[in-house]
Symmetry: C2
Subunit: 202 residues, 2 copies
């Protein structure tokens, strides 16, 4: 009762994502794992350890219930569903504004020490990284397209709202990658072009 597990004030996003998915429909840990690792903006690989621990925790806190499904087809599984308390917790979490996430870029860390490179190495770094960003953009575009095709056909308003949110999120991810590409191109020019003016080239 007074256990105070330390967690749960903080982010604990995976548990909440699980709660959100269970709110849509009851599922087994295995099914959750697949969905979580499939949807990129859940930002989790959805590995076993995490999921099963979180499910035990959610059950422990009274936010989810398990009903054992014995050998219907395939191996026996525990199907979890959300409880009324879980639904309240979910609502409270979704409605509480999160902190602005620090935008993390490994490329920034490299570029911060670009002065140790020769001009040609820097050029190659930019080229290789730009290619990777282009690949990411292609992936994000594909995902966005697939989702638009799949999600537009919702009838009930709850699902329509969810679909529009998901589409917006995918769109924002795509926009962010596109901004990064634009920034890369202009930065590369501004760093490399002016040097050639006064280098032993002409």
């Amino acid at each position: 009762m007074d256990q105070s597990y330390g967690l749960w004030e903080s982010e604990m996003s995976i548990s909440h994502v699980i709660l959100g998915l269970l709110d849509q429909k009851p599922m087994s840990g295995y099914a959750l794992k697949k969905q979580i690792s499939d949807v990129p903006f859940f930002y989790s690989t959805g590995n076993n350890n995490q999921i099963y621990k979180a499910l035990i925790d959610l059950h422990h806190k009274g936010f989810a219930e398990a009903t054992v499904q014995q050998k219907e087809r395939g191996a026996s599984s525990k199907v979890y569903s959300i409880t009324p308390a879980g639904r309240l917790e979910l609502q409270s979490w979704v409605g509480s504004p999160p902190e602005v996430s620090e935008f993390y870029s490994a490329f920034h860390q490299h570029l911060a020490f670009a002065n140790v490179l020769y001009e040609q190495q820097l050029e190659e770094l930019f080229q290789a990284y730009e290619e990777e960003v282009r690949t990411q953009i292609a992936v994000a575009k594909e995902l966005h397209k697939r989702f638009v095709n799949l999600g537009a056909s919702a009838t009930e308003p709850q699902l329509r709202l969810r679909n529009r949110c998901w589409e917006s999120i995918l769109q924002h991810r795509l926009q962010t990658y596109e901004l990064e590409l634009d920034w890369l191109k202009s930065t590369r020019q501004s760093l490399l072009a002016p040097e050639t003016e006064k280098k032993k080239r002409g």
Copy 2:
């Protein structure tokens, strides 16, 4: 010799950031800690544990040397400097293109389950989060401005290049937050405005 510590193939960014800073000038762990936590795009809080462990590791690998400065002024400190091997390692790391970092947004996770909220709660979520993003933008602008003032006066080309890189990085961070604000505004409109058309409002 055949120790194979497991690390060092992967990112290990903090060690490399330390190496990059030591390349600029020899420093103590304490000084490194301060710089690393001050520069936002090193993406580390620079806590003790990390720094001192990394320094021991760098020394262990022959990438950094320590010279003990006994009681000159203040407490005695170990001043680390980069070795030739460390300089090679740094160059190799900076020049190797990193993977595109996953863009992480806690807000996305919340928005993904926006269907559990009432319209007004969603409105409030957007409002509160937008305010936070605005604050971040102000911070990023201030940082960018401070750096431009401070960094423009470099004379040697190495430092000029470094400064231009840092400015670009800060600019990209600012652009990313600004994109997020634009996206928030348009998403909020598209999610909330069309609903009012067919709600019990008129």
